[in-house]
Symmetry: C2
């Protein structure tokens, strides 16, 4: 099943069921007007949504319409929590080398994870407003899961069952600010502006054989200003999402709709397959040539992030967006 959220001027948008080929959609029948409402009572709402999805794919849904993916905002325009890991060891190892950081001795046992802002997510084709090019604007292509309610201290064994949906995320990052924030020990805050999301979130069975060990065994395709940047494989995660969810829930409840990210996708052979963020390429350049050569993004630059299944079809639709200056833009009204 594939689900999206139609922009309708409201804060949470309108839940739609999206066809497997991403070309048709149907407004979800009550009782779930929003994806958040569906997740709050998933056991009750999922069966009806699945039935709608089957009708939509069969061409028998009465209220179906042709979908332009640009009609969609983030599947959850806001979420109760957004917790992002750094679960690809090839990326972490490289960053430690470049920045001369001491690796946590138990880094293969305990995931790295921070909490980011979840109240202002950006849609897949929407511009991403940022205050300054000097902050070192970067993208990070990653996979994320959306859970139903996870009670505190849920085990890894039980955590996997709470994963209801998967999606793609652009965890935009401001690298000039990140180094200082890591060194303080308090972690990322200003260096992590709003994140953006793929047009749809899909249930795990939609991935068929590519969902194994609570990992997505597919490549992510990343391009910057229309040029190939990387296609690392998301299956190389050092932790499964079951472990990430359990880590997040160790001392807190996770409300339904909590989003947990993999961290930037990265592979050991990053010199061959490329990267999913500029910081990684700059790290490679620093190792190989003594200093970074590639600059960060400029205002007007665009990034495209997509994941294709074994048949070459887009699973989540693409994130495709420009970084733009926040100054002078009209702000959303308080009401």
């Amino acid at each position: 099943m594939k689900l999206g959220t139609l922009k309708d001027g409201s804060r949470d948008g309108r839940l739609v069921v999206v066809s497997q080929n991403l070309r048709r959609a149907a407004v979800a029948v009550p009782p779930a007007a929003t994806l958040q409402a569906a997740l709050d009572r998933w056991m009750q709402t999922a069966p009806g949504l699945r039935a709608q999805y089957a009708e939509l794919n069969a061409g028998t849904a009465s209220n179906a319409f042709d979908l332009d993916l640009r009609q969609l905002t983030a599947p959850l325009p806001r979420a109760p929590q957004w917790l992002d890991a750094s679960a690809f060891h090839s990326h972490g190892d490289l960053m430690e080398k470049v920045f001369g950081l001491d690796p946590p001795p138990d880094k293969l046992q305990i995931p790295l994870m921070y909490q980011g802002a979840s109240d202002d997510f950006v849609g897949p084709y929407d511009d991403m407003p940022l205050p300054s090019e000097a902050d070192g604007i970067d993208f990070e292509a990653e996979v994320g899961v959306i859970v139903d309610r996870v009670p505190m201290a849920t085990s890894s064994a039980a955590a996997g069952g709470h994963i209801k949906l998967l999606t793609l995320i652009n965890d935009a990052s401001l690298r000039t600010l990140a180094g200082r924030e890591i060194r303080t020990g308090f972690g990322f805050l200003q260096s992590k502006p709003a994140s953006s999301f793929a047009p749809v979130a899909v249930t795990p069975e939609e991935l068929r054989g590519a969902w194994q060990d609570y990992r997505v065994h597919l490549q992510v395709k990343v391009s910057w200003n229309g040029r190939w940047f990387g296609h690392p494989h998301a299956g190389q995660m050092g932790f499964g999402f079951d472990q990430l969810v359990a880590h997040a829930a160790r001392t807190r409840n996770l409300s339904a709709g909590t989003v947990i990210g993999s961290g930037t996708i990265s592979n050991n052979d990053y010199r061959v397959v490329g990267s999913a963020c500029i910081a990684e390429l700059r790290g490679i350049e620093t190792l190989d040539r003594g200093k970074p050569v590639t600059g960060y993004m400029k205002f007007g630059d665009s990034v495209r992030i997509e994941m294709l299944d074994a048949d070459g079809h887009s699973v989540f639709g693409a994130i495709e967006q420009r970084m733009v200056s926040a100054s002078g833009r009209p702000h959303r009204d308080e009401a």
Copy 2:
């Protein structure tokens, strides 16, 4: 004006106006059923709430009732963001010494701040369920502000005007987990379980002369199992809340209802005035005697946090709660 949230079984509770002496309350007249709804349109909702508050204090409110503060949950049972600073330098300096951390060279210019969970706040008299005593259970008494919508890159000069309410917070902390999380550079996650809040939030003018330089110039009174633990003065903040709000909004929008905390209240003469968290006392013991002597909280232990005005009256009502084991407790249903 003082505002609270009546427990009514719903996720966001029911907004009430609370009398200055905390003894009477009245359900807020429409259009604001919840504090979040009031903050979303503060310019439109605040005048009516102020009028109700005046009637309540004058004894002329038609729908007033005798209030037991235990009827109240956190003023915002959930919030769009919860960003917590460490704005008292005496505390930071001590922790750096004890843990042998390198102080950030610009720590007097740039606040330390992390993002915590804001989807599951705990009421002032409610038990705080936690997974294990071995995690090093601590309290942290602090002041917090609640803002209306703050657009990205708002200056400190403009940020102060976005502060609509103030309250007291118990930023419960799990110290055994915190040291590792600081050393990874990713910051606090498992070491920061759900936070709890005082019964009411108050508008700045309610503090009269005690609200100066965007700081609350009053002592916080902290007791542990009924015994005095400290009464540090909150006016010694190294940054004003205007600066903290601007720091938080540097690269992101803050939705109305975002809560920003001061970090544990601490004074230079902590050996005289005591502390607002156990970790600080243990730090002093480590400096003075070579090792910490005081243990952390046990299940069943209670903490009480309150702030009195110049006349000795409680400003926010008290936080008074027990730490309890989460295991075996019934979990809130997903619906």
